[in-house]
Amino acid sequence: MKKYSAFSLFKNALSYHENWQKVWRSPTPKKDYDVIVVGGGGHGLATAYYLAKVHGITNIAVIEKGYLGGGNTARNTTIIRSNYLWDEASQLYDLSLKLWEGLSQELNYNVMFSQRGVLNLGHNLQDMRDIERRVNANRLNGIDGEVVSPERIKEIAPLINISRNSRYPILGASWQPRGGTARHDAVAWGYARGADALGVDLIQQTEVTGIRRKDGAVVGVETTHGFIGARKVACVTAGNSSVVAAMAGVRLPVESRPLQALVSEPVKPCLDTVVMSNAVHGYISQSDKGDLVIGAGVDSYNGYGQRGSFHVVEHTIQAICELFPAFSRVRMNRQWGGIVDTCPDACPIISKTSVKGLYFNCGWGTGGFKATPGSGYVFADTVANDHPHPLAAAFNIDRFNTGALIDEHGAAGVAH
């Protein structure tokens, strides 16, 4: 892999940028791999990257039915934060945040990580009690955060309406300065480039149609391009996790739902932070291109159609216009949906399964993007050692039988 630098930019300018090395190869699949990662989104590519980088397992294939980073990685609202309530979740998300902080250097690829801070608004007394509790819990876990007043919120985001006369007045917020946003595509491409350079085969346009087992252990996957053998199969297929699990006779406690987002026309810089509100349900930030990126709630019904109902978007826009009256005149450009695999406790499943050599990393629901590096890191460790990483142990699938759930509905940010 040729390193990206100011010098390489200069050198390639001399040949009119026509001789850049391809970012990754398009290999023909081998007959057999040590590990097959099913799903070439951010989490899957990160898993492959850390398997190769940290654990020295390079005989890996990532099998993707569409193109790399074309699912929820391309559809989310790119918010990054780690202000979760419970120890298990906050430590996992904070590992991720720490990895984000060095990710552009680690991958030699600009993921445009911008620590512009995240505000989570409170609109009533109970919201504020919950926020204080969550901020205190975060600080005990070494995660930055403070409770801020409406006046301070107005300083951070001057366009916001803090009038006491609004339908849902803003009483305060939690503020995590280390939170922010990143370029979603760049994360997938950066991990893909890094994994490819370490020898990982990235196989696109190939759908896994079955998981072949022998004596209770995985021996490989059936694909639209034939059988590929593997000692271990790691599934990171988000909304389609139940479908892939069913191929191996495994049941998961997830339900797939549409989650929608939309962007406005590009406007001049007007919002240099991320504002989220659970109560009125909307979250908003401004991309580097200038679009306002707005996330809606999850649709109430199960669906695999990558689209949701219009009224969900309408409610979100009502909330955004209430918070930012100036945005009522901004025209919306595009709207889309992705399929999120929601867990009953709004926490992921990073786990071995009853089938030997079959691993699942799923159930991230509405908030998986922020966890991309940490998720890949702990999942790679779990797959490589056939034993849960200490930070992944609590996210074992067994918790739905033992009852040791980690209820993060409050901090998940999106109502389920």
């Binding site: 406690p253 199960n302 109902s309 009224h311 039988n401």
Partner: protein
């Protein structure tokens, strides 16, 4: 936006009048205390999450306030039938 036919009201009404009740035809175990943790966890949390034909409960929240079931395709979102609670669907994955 779904247009849902309520079998009680005998009318097509807007999705916003309804609330989703999750997978249908899950029977509550008669003796919960006799179940193992696996069986109880399975009853509480594990769902088919079908891609395709799905039988699900809906609640006509701002209408008749009664539950009913629907058979819906979770890929196209087409509602194939709605039927009253306690009755069985005529359309299933097997006969589609």
């Amino acid at each position: 936006m779904l247009l849902i036919h309520c079998p009680h009201c005998q009318e097509y009404r807007d999705e916003e009048e309804f609330s989703y009740g999750g997978e249908a035809h899950i029977v509550r175990p008669l003796e919960p205390e006799a179940l193992s943790d696996e069986e109880w966890g399975d009853y509480l949390f594990f769902r088919t999450n079908s891609r395709g034909i799905h039988h699900e409960m809906w609640y006509h929240l701002v209408g008749c306030r009664r539950y009913f079931n629907a058979t819906r395709n979770t890929v196209t979102y087409e509602i194939l039938e709605t039927y009253k609670t306690g009755t069985q669907p005529t359309i299933t994955g097997a006969n589609l």
